[in-house]
């Protein structure tokens, strides 16, 4: 598509605002406060493979074809993840949060924006190795039901196992990683007992409210796609969901420091973005 002028570029930006409004009003998914550069990139990339001529044409299609909306929903939500992504994060959790959790009789975990579930199973494995799994309840949520279905199954392509295994080892894993899965020709299925205390559920951080009071919230590489206002809304939601003394664990490039809720937290590990809600 030709948008080689500032005029055309601004028209495209307007079309993008309109399609996001249309999606919100028709389907209830709200991308209006997402990073504009991110949304533009995803929509233009879909446009270039769709055979459509403009975002306006795309808007017509998305309003009249729910199937096409499913496609756009997948485009707009980032579901790239891996097991034990950022191994140093898991090392820090083992060192700085696990010893405190060990003093609790029961632990509730909310993994917000869990995508296809790799990081949920990673955390479940960590809790198992630390002897905590039997006193934990994990709520793993995402707004995208397609990825939740994948997460529930716990089946991943076998070609990713090498990377997952390397991460697991660097993350302080104590067993042979292959103890946790069975390999088939093309895929691996994770130990079904890891699911015992996990509930996978649909929850939209942008439009839904608090659903549980929890000891830990893990939400990694979700907030980077939101603008500051929306980040603040989500930090409010998190602050209402965390018990005093509870832990907030973000992605390595995300921070609560610019939020109006920053004062509620103390930093446990700056590098790995681990925060503790103050006991007031």
């Amino acid at each position: 598509m030709n948008l080689y002028s500032d005029e055309l570029n601004q028209t495209v930006n307007l079309e993008i605002e309109l399609i996001l409004e249309a999606i919100f009003q028709q389907y209830g998914y709200d991308f209006r406060n997402y990073s504009k550069a991110h949304v533009k990139r995803r929509l233009l990339s879909r446009l270039s493979t769709s055979g459509l001529k403009s975002i306006s044409e795309m808007q017509h299609k998305v309003l009249h074809e729910p199937g096409f909306f499913d496609q756009l929903l997948r485009d707009l939500s980032i579901n790239v993840t891996e097991m034990f992504r950022d191994p140093s994060f898991y090392l820090a959790i083992r060192k700085e949060i696990i010893p405190i959790l060990k003093t609790y009789p029961f632990i509730k975990v909310w993994h917000a924006g869990c995508s296809t579930g790799e990081e949920v199973y990673s955390f479940a494995i960590l809790l198992k190795e630390e002897g905590l799994y039997n006193r934990v309840q994990i709520y793993a949520t995402d707004f995208n039901t397609n990825v939740l279905e994948i997460a529930k199954k716990g089946i991943y392509p076998i070609n990713r196992i090498k990377e997952f295994t390397a991460n697991y080892q660097q993350a302080g894993g104590r067993q042979s990683f292959s103890d946790y899965y069975m390999a088939d020709y093309n895929s691996v299925i994770f130990d079904q007992s890891l699911k015992k205390n996990i509930v996978f559920a649909e929850h939209n951080l942008v439009t839904d409210s608090v659903f549980a009071e929890v000891n830990i919230i893990i939400c990694r590489n979700v907030l980077i796609y939101f603008n500051r206002d929306l980040q603040d809304t989500v930090f409010n939601l998190f602050s209402d969901s965390l018990i005093n003394g509870g832990f907030l664990c973000l992605g390595s490039k995300e921070t609560i420091q610019f939020s109006s809720k920053a004062g509620l937290y103390e930093t446990i590990n700056f590098q790995e973005k681990l925060y503790k809600k103050r006991i007031v």
Partner: protein, 204 residues
Amino acid sequence: MDIKRKSVNKMHGIVIGSSTGGFYALKKIITSLPEGFSLPIMIAQHISPNSDNFMAKYFDGLSLVTVKEADEKEPILPGVVYIAPPNYHLLIEEDFTLTLSTEEKRNYARPSVDVLFESAAYAFGPKLIGVVLTGANNDGAKGLLAIKNFGGTTIVQNPKEAEAYVMPQAALETANPDFVLSLDEISQKLIELENLFRGESSNQ
């Protein structure tokens, strides 16, 4: 009928993409920039996903301009060099703030040069300078073409001089750049263009 628009006041900026051999090439360019150099520079250098921010710290210590790893939502400031963090794409918002993304690799790379360049082309339009340096894959070629299409200035390191010729060669063939230069000449060209832009804005 005229289209009713708010007038957009764009700033000038530089984006640089590099891969194999990029550390040395970037070091040479960044350390040659004079104090008070007023254009912001955003860099996508292919790097191992588990690296730390050593490169930014090291360059900062050696140069007269400020060099830092890019933070999400950070406003772009004149004269600051921003390096994409390992394992994240760096995008430029049209309000001149920075966005990071963990989406799929592009051209086997995250950060990808194309992702940075394309978003920068929308934001800066004709006031952007794009530079493709040494590297061993095709990343950056399409992004440089986008910069050119938006009327920006395009520079490619001479493939014959580059430590790895593939990336500058691909950019040269795809984007037909305005300048094909050695590293020393690239530094000189950036300083020259910076002076030119400074003159333009003081005449306004």
